[in-house]
Symmetry: C2
Subunit: 199 residues, 2 copies
């Protein structure tokens, strides 16, 4: 049937582009949109365009923002001597939820993965080194995911930064090995922050 | 964090309005939109508005359409003597997928449910009776879901239509009791159509 209602089919295809959305889910979502009021549907469409056009990476740390620099880099009450290095923006969200960390962040935008051809120059590694040199950083907490690639990246970063005289630590293994930071609960993440150790 | 990226938060709230989308899923989808190219995001937004503004119920059968009448009512090759009565548009989709039924449909837009205050005048019941009287219908196949409310509705419709001299049948119990037509597989639905019986 949906082959014949073109606009419904097109909308379902759009939902199907999103990460983790299958064919049936996409169609259910398309039907949900039909059930919305017209002004709700317009607000939805506008939210997509606004988010896409306004949100961009923070030029300092790589976190997402809709301002010039992100609210964390812009916050004078935060400890400017500590940088927490994460793989992606979702990890920033997860750590912020703990409300225990009050330093800055650096979003790598990926991890070093020789198998997949991702070398250090393909992630935001050089800008991390620049920040450590220029901003008088005392400690770098490496919070890449506890996966093989995450470990390799942590090791690589720690070897590059130690000669600069900065303290390099790694999240404690409170985080379940093989999992993703996004799904860790607040308590576990809090423990991991407390028990961080020298690399 | 997302409290501070307003446009991301607003987009996640919009996804959260959709049926079956929770808070975490909504946020993951919002992030997916940020990962799209800008013209892809625009196409997505346009698909929402287009689907919402163009799609409406067919004035004859209640099926969704973006034309004046739906492609099934508009199809002269279909058997105009048989009407299949379903609860919602998703059921039309499911039955069409079987490619065995070639009559017309009538979408009730709900089921009679005294507990929830849904009386026959709140679903498209009167227009079904009108159609049976006016269009010279020979058979009405009732394909409401095999739930208590679906059964009550089937019983109510069959009692109202039988005095009009029309043959009233019900889908055979090939469909697993308590389930939803949307999730039935094609073979099961095909069997149910073949083995339909008098009510």
């Amino acid at each position: 049937m949906t082959d014949y209602i073109e606009s419904l089919q097109r909308l379902a295809e759009q939902f199907g582009r999103l990460q983790g959305v299958g064919r049936k889910t996409a169609m259910r979502m398309a039907f949900s949109v039909i059930d919305l009021e017209e002004d709700e549907a317009r607000a939805f469409a506008e939210a997509i365009i606004e988010a896409k056009t306004r949100i961009h990476p923070c030029p300092i740390c790589g976190n997402l923002t809709d301002e010039d620099i992100c609210y964390i880099c812009d916050d004078d009450t935060r400890d400017r001597g500590v940088i927490c290095v994460v793989e992606d923006v979702k990890a920033v969200m997860s750590i912020e939820k703990v409300r225990e960390y009050c330093g800055l962040y650096h979003v790598l935008g990926g991890v070093i993965s020789p198998v997949n051809g991702i070398t250090p120059d393909k992630i935001r590694f050089d800008s991390l080194v620049e920040r450590v040199k220029a901003e008088g950083i005392k400690e770098v907490i490496i919070a890449t995911n506890p996966t093989p690639d995450g470990e390799v990246t942590a090791m690589y970063i720690s070897r590059a930064l130690k000669p600069l005289g900065v303290k390099v630590t790694r999240l404690a293994y409170g985080i379940p090995v093989g999992a993703d930071l996004e799904y860790a609960d607040e308590v576990t993440l809090g423990r991991a922050l407390e028990g961080r150790r020298d690399v």
